[in-house]
C-alpha cells in the first residue's frame, strides 16, 4: 500500500474518538451531543476500515457498513426524541432535564 500505513490511520481514528467523547461531555444541547456521537462512530468506522485493509479481509468493511446503518437508526430515534421534547416546550439543555433521578 502506498501512503501511510496502519498506525497513522489508527491515530486519526483515536483522535476522532477522543474529540467526539469530549464533545459529548462538554456540550449541553442534545443536538450537538448527537453530532459528537456521530464523530465517535466515524472514528470507529475508520479504524475498522483501516484494519480491514491491513488484514486483507472484507469483514471490517461489512462491520463498518453495519455500524453506519445502526448510526442512521440511532439518529432517527434521537432526532425524534428531540423533536418530541421541543413540541412539549421543554428546554433543550441536558443539564436541566433531570427528572430521571433517585
Amino acid at each position: 500500500m502506498t501512503g501511510p500505513n496502519l498506525p497513522a490511520y489508527l491515530l486519526i481514528a483515536g483522535m476522532l474518538f477522543a474529540i467526539g467523547a469530549l464533545g459529548v461531555l462538554i456540550r449541553r444541547s442534545p443536538l450537538i451531543i448527537l453530532l459528537s456521537l456521530e464523530i465517535m462512530l466515524n472514528g470507529a468506522n475508520l479504524a475498522l476500515i483501516a484494519f480491514s485493509r491491513h488484514v486483507g479481509n472484507h469483514s471490517g468493511q461489512i462491520f463498518a457498513l453495519a455500524v453506519m446503518a445502526v448510526a442512521a437508526s440511532e439518529v432517527v430515534i434521537g432526532l425524534g426524541l428531540i423533536v418530541a421534547m421541543a413540541r412539549r416546550r421543554l428546554v433543550l439543555d441536558v443539564d436541566l432535564l433531570t427528572t430521571l433521578r433517585g
Partner: protein
C-alpha cells in the same frame, strides 16, 4: 519515493487535517448549524480516507447515506428548532470541564498505548490485496455469502428504527407540559 506515493501522502495529510479540524469545529461552534455543516465536512474527508484504504463502496455509502441523508435530517431538525445557541464549556459543575478533558485525553492515551504496546510489531506489514478489494461486487457477494446474518439483522434494526421514528413523530393530543421550564 515515487510521485504516486507523494501524491497519496499529500492527499492523506490534507484529508487527515480536514477530518480532525472539522471534528474540532463540530465540538466548538456555538451555532448548531455550523456544527452540522462541519460534520458534513468531516464525513467528506473521511470518505477520502476510505478511498485511500481501498474501501470504495464504503466511501460511496458514507457520502450517500451519512453525509447525504443523515446530515440532511439533522439540518432539517436544526432548522425546525431554530438553532438555539449553546456555548461549549459552559454550564454544569465547575469540575465538569476539567473532568471531561481528562477523560477524553485518557481515552486517547489508552488507545495509543494499547495499540502501540500490544500490537507494535504486527502493525507494520500489510496483506496483499486483489484489485477488486472493497468493490461493490465484492461487498455485495460477501453480504449475501459469509455475513448474511449481519445483513438481515441490520435490516431489522433499520425497520425498528423506522417504526420508532414514526411513533415518536405522532403528534400527541393535549399533552401537558412537564419537566423543567426554560
Amino acid at each position: 519515493m515515487s510521485a504516486e506515493d507523494v501524491l497519496v501522502w499529500i492527499v492523506w495529510v490534507v484529508a487527515a487535517f480536514a477530518c480532525l479540524g472539522s471534528g474540532i469545529a463540530v465540538v466548538s461552534f456555538s451555532n448548531p448549524f455550523y456544527s452540522a455543516l462541519s460534520l458534513i465536512g468531516n464525513l467528506g474527508s473521511l470518505a477520502v480516507l476510505f478511498l485511500l484504504l481501498s474501501a470504495e463502496f464504503v466511501a460511496a455509502a458514507q457520502v450517500l447515506i451519512y453525509a447525504g441523508s443523515v446530515m440532511v435530517m439533522f439540518l432539517f431538525v436544526i432548522a425546525y428548532l431554530g438553532g438555539r445557541v449553546d456555548t461549549p464549556w459552559a454550564g454544569g459543575p465547575s469540575w465538569q470541564a476539567v473532568a471531561a478533558v481528562t477523560a477524553a485525553a485518557a481515552l486517547l492515551a489508552e488507545i495509543v498505548l494499547a495499540i502501540g504496546l500490544k500490537a507494535g510489531g504486527r502493525l507494520a506489514d500489510q496483506a496483499a490485496i486483489p484489485d477488486n478489494f472493497g468493490s461493490p461486487a465484492q461487498i455485495g457477494r460477501i453480504f449475501l455469502d459469509e455475513h448474511l446474518l449481519a445483513f438481515e439483522i441490520t435490516s431489522v434494526v433499520l425497520l425498528v428504527a423506522a417504526v420508532g421514528g414514526v411513533i415518536l413523530g405522532t403528534r400527541p393530543e393535549d399533552e401537558d407540559v412537564s419537566g423543567v421550564q426554560p
